[in-house]
């Protein structure tokens, strides 16, 4: 059996600290972290917390790019800590995600993002709500073909890690912008053959805070760890919103002018 010898490599890791009860603003702390070829950034942070500085706070859970908890700015790029490895860097600078308030150390306050997610009604909507009444026995199946599934499957892979929000310059300048993940999720439900909520969601999508704040920078799709491609979803949403705008001018559309 070929077992690699423990590596003696040491990397300088700079971590952004912010403890609201003591610090007026974020500051930088340096650590020396031993690593081998398979050490992830998340493991480096865990090493710091376990062996060097128990006061360091960061969010994590699954260690395998499923939970979306460990998003950080790693050398200025939004990445998941569990999906970035020390072997790819000569020096590390880890900070909380851009464009969000910092709660503590590397923990971002993503409640604004969660509110945006709620806004776009990310669930199956039916014209007849009784069809979804869970207190009644299920009496019908909403059959979907593989072709219908493939229309939205890509956009349903989002793990709500917030990397696209840290990458988006428009969200950084205007937190009212619903943002990449929320708009991609709106697209996911609008494309679902079982959903009938397009008109309700059009109200948000047609607004400046909806698809129209996007200038197609495309960095959201570049940093997405699940290849969701929110930039494509938003720009296809612009085409849909334009069609709806023109239909509305001709008074053929039922959506967007309510409330």
């Amino acid at each position: 059996m070929n077992i690699a010898a423990p590596s003696a490599d040491i990397m300088k890791v700079t971590v952004q600290r912010y403890r609201p009860e003591q610090d007026n603003e974020p500051w930088l702390q340096h650590y020396q972290v031993p690593f081998s070829a398979d050490t992830s950034v998340l493991e480096a942070l865990q090493h710091i917390k376990d062996h060097l500085d128990p006061s360091l706070s960061f969010r994590w859970s699954c260690r395998m790019a499923i939970c979306g908890s460990c998003g950080f700015m790693i050398n200025g790029v939004p990445k998941l800590g569990c999906k970035a490895f020390l072997r790819d860097y000569s020096e590390l600078h880890i900070a909380a995600l851009d464009n969000f308030p910092i709660e503590r150390d590397l923990i971002s306050d993503i409640s604004g993002f969660v509110e945006n997610l709620e806004t776009i009604k990310p669930y199956i909507i039916r014209d007849d709500p009784q069809e979804l009444d869970t207190s009644q026995p299920i009496n019908q199946a909403f059959i979907q073909t593989p072709a219908e599934l493939s229309l939205y499957q890509q956009f349903s892979q989002c793990i709500n890690c917030g990397l696209c929000y840290a990458a988006c310059p428009q969200f950084g300048r205007n937190p009212d912008f619903l943002g990449p993940a929320a708009l991609a999720l709106a697209s996911r439900y609008n494309r679902d053959s079982r959903d009938q909520g397009q008109e309700q969601r059009a109200l948000f999508l047609n607004a400046e805070e909806g698809v129209w704040s996007c200038t197609f920078v495309g960095y959201c799709s570049e940093v997405c760890p699940k290849q969701v491609d929110p930039a494509a979803a938003i720009n296809q949403g612009k085409a849909a919103s334009t069609t709806d705008y023109m239909l509305n001018l001709l008074s053929l559309s039922k959506s967007g002018e309510k409330e």
């Binding site: 909806g210 200038t215 919103s241 334009t242 967007g256």
Partner: protein
């Protein structure tokens, strides 16, 4: 869920961006497909004498400009790219954090493109009279 109940409902007025975005999209198509050929022919091939193009003789060119389809071609080649550029610059200024008063930016960029459209229409009208 709590936050959406405790907060007053946000208003989401419809954006009028689709108008300028449509012009931007159409202009992008013209810039990508039509303009390179037009620039190549009128800017390089004809003036450098690479090929003899009788259509670019004065009388035939004037006839082209006076025809309705020639006027349409010139209009499409000038106005749509102008709106494309105006839209790019307007949002590019925003991306570069160079943001003045919004009415001023709208006037300079979309107003400029509209002015160019009017000037083109006026010039085409003069050619026909």
């Amino acid at each position: 869920m709590l936050s959406s109940q405790s907060k007053p409902q946000r208003q989401y007025p419809r954006s009028h961006e689709p108008i300028v975005w449509s012009l931007f999209g159409a202009g992008g198509m013209v810039v990508a497909f039509l303009l390179p050929a037009a620039v190549l022919i009128t800017g390089f091939i004809a003036p450098l004498g690479v090929a003899e193009l009788p259509i670019l003789s004065y009388s035939l060119a004037l006839e082209f400009c006076r025809s309705w389809w020639g006027s349409l071609f010139i209009l499409v080649c000038i106005v749509l790219p102008a709106f494309h550029a105006a839209h790019r610059l307007y949002h590019g200024m925003h991306d570069l954090h160079l943001r003045g008063a919004n009415w001023l930016m709208l006037t300079v960029f979309y107003g400029g493109a509209s002015g160019l459209a009017c000037a083109t229409l006026f010039y085409l009208w003069i050619l026909r009279h």
